[in-house]
Amino acid sequence: MKVKNVVIAGLGGQGVLKASDILADAAFRAGFDVKKSELHGMSQRGGSVSSDVRYGEGILSPMVPPGEADVLVVLEETQVEINRPTLRAGGVLIAPDVLAPEALKNKKSLNVALLGAASTVLDIADEHWIAAMHANLAEKLHTLNEQAFEIGREAARARGLS
């Protein structure tokens, strides 16, 4: 399978790294080779942060080369233009405006909701997404996040992203 390149971006504290952990774990559970790369440190203090996930067969560099992302997920509108250069021509952009303004009960699940939206264009089976969410999120938040994932997925389908 061709390498699938996904970049997840936003601001420190929004759950960018958590979302990329879930995606990488889901792809891993689906049996793909996976590499995931991110920068920590200063970026945790409210600054811009992004994480690259690549999966498929025989991944080499852990970083998505500029202009080669198949999917770009951005958790904060102000970060869309900053990250747009990572997207390839014809790549899919997923930003908060995919969702209706009041779609989420808990804003903290935005990362998972946008992951749900992204799942409609990523070839990973449901069971792996669910397992990855369970492995990476606190148990008491499982229901909330599963709902958020579904809300994102429905919104993306309604908008014809997939």
Binding site: F28, K35, E38, H40, S43, R45, G47, L60, P62, Q79
Partner: protein
Amino acid sequence: MTVERLLLSGDDAVALAALHAGVRLGTGYPGTPSTEILETFDQLGGRAQWSPNEKVALEVGIGSAFAGARTLVTMKHVGLNVAADALFTAAYTDVEGGLVVVSADDPGMASSQNEQDNRHYARAAALPMLEPSDSQQAYDFTWLAFEISERWKIPVILRLTTRICHAKTVVRPRPALQTLPEPHFKRDVPARVMIPAYAKPAHLRLRRKLAEIAAWNEAEGPFELHEGDPKLGIVATGIGAMHAREAAPDATHLSFGLTYPLPIERLRAFADRVERLVVIEEGDPVLVDSLRAVGLPAEGKPEMYRFGELNVERVRRILANDTSPEAVPPKGKPPELCPGCSHRGVFETLRDLDCIVSGDIGCYTLGVLPPFSAMDTCVCMGASIGVGLGLRHVLPEEQARRVVSVIGDSTFVHSGLTGLAEMVYNPPPTGHLVLILDNGTTAMTGQQEHPGTGRLLDHSATNLLNFEETARAMGVQNVHVIDTTSLKDDSLRDLITNLLACNETSLIVTRQPCVLAAPKIRLYEKANAEQRAATCAADLVD
């Protein structure tokens, strides 16, 4: 499927390998991107501890290795500067148990004050260095590092970089060691006491060890050859090898893991079989210079690619000898002091008083940015105090009186204590003022404990280093503690103004837990209090 398949960061892979290889003690000082190694090692059940700084961590590690225990010492690249004094002489000694020193370099400075290339340390200290290019190699090379260390009784440097530490890739671990030698002290003075009489033969011994390791590297050291078009031959190490193979899939590639001492004959044979030989390495031209020094016609990268990280696109440009200006990525939002940080008021006060602020490493470095713009210097851990004193010594009095040193709590323990001793010993004529912004944690690297928190790496209770009592005992003339939640009035402003006006040595500790860490700190304290209560009850029953 008999082999377990895991998705691990390079840091986690090192921790798991340390556990499987029987490491008895892991020491270090937190620093991005190395921090998670010891945290994971602890979570996996290993014995890990934070030291006040990297030099102490390595010294403890040397002792542990002298006693025959496999030992892991972790730090970020600049931490190795702090530990260098111990490292260079440890190279002369015979370590009994394997001693592996991790240097986590940060090319591109994602969260560091410089992008030094610690491959220079291998050559300078004459120590073998292993450089993995993904998590599997991080795991395998940790094992190998212990094997090399014990076979030749020599410390081994495991050099990681940001994209190894924080990239998750697939790892297939091997079975853990079941039996390990028990630590035991065996007296061997000439191999461990480096007075000149013993150090002179020790240096000769070290060079012999290196020659043997080089021969081993030639014959059976870790390397990967990917056959391709012989027109282009690429030699690469670390993460550069991965970028290179993706950037030029049709070329012939050689990557190798033990990057000091080099397998020169192997490289020579590779050079002979390719038409064009290009070296892909992040950072300084260390490898290319070594190849040229033995007469190999190796091409390096244009100087512009020395700065920052490499990636697939940059490697393509290097191979094409493209030195046209690179696209400037749009500027992201810079980090900032947390909105609720209780120490923001300190920087506002220093700004309003127009102080000359000698700053330090950590969250508080962010005091340099608007809206505070309240920092004038920042060099390395602990430098705020020494640099502040230097400014005080030579500036005209009117300016000298405005100089203040600002340092965080973890940084103060790391290397501010000796600065305080210098202030007591060589006070400038106008005195000096040091502020410790104590937020009760090592916040910037992800809330690690340190000797000033009274809790160990696993957050259980231990003795507490009291800053104000320490400062008084050291002879600082004015010592004040301020709870920053009570900063509704001008008390801090008035206090600083008064202390700047007098010619004495002064310390103000502003104290309030990090807003991000406070909820966890309350939990740790509660658990520790319950444990202490339980212990006392047990004592009474006895």
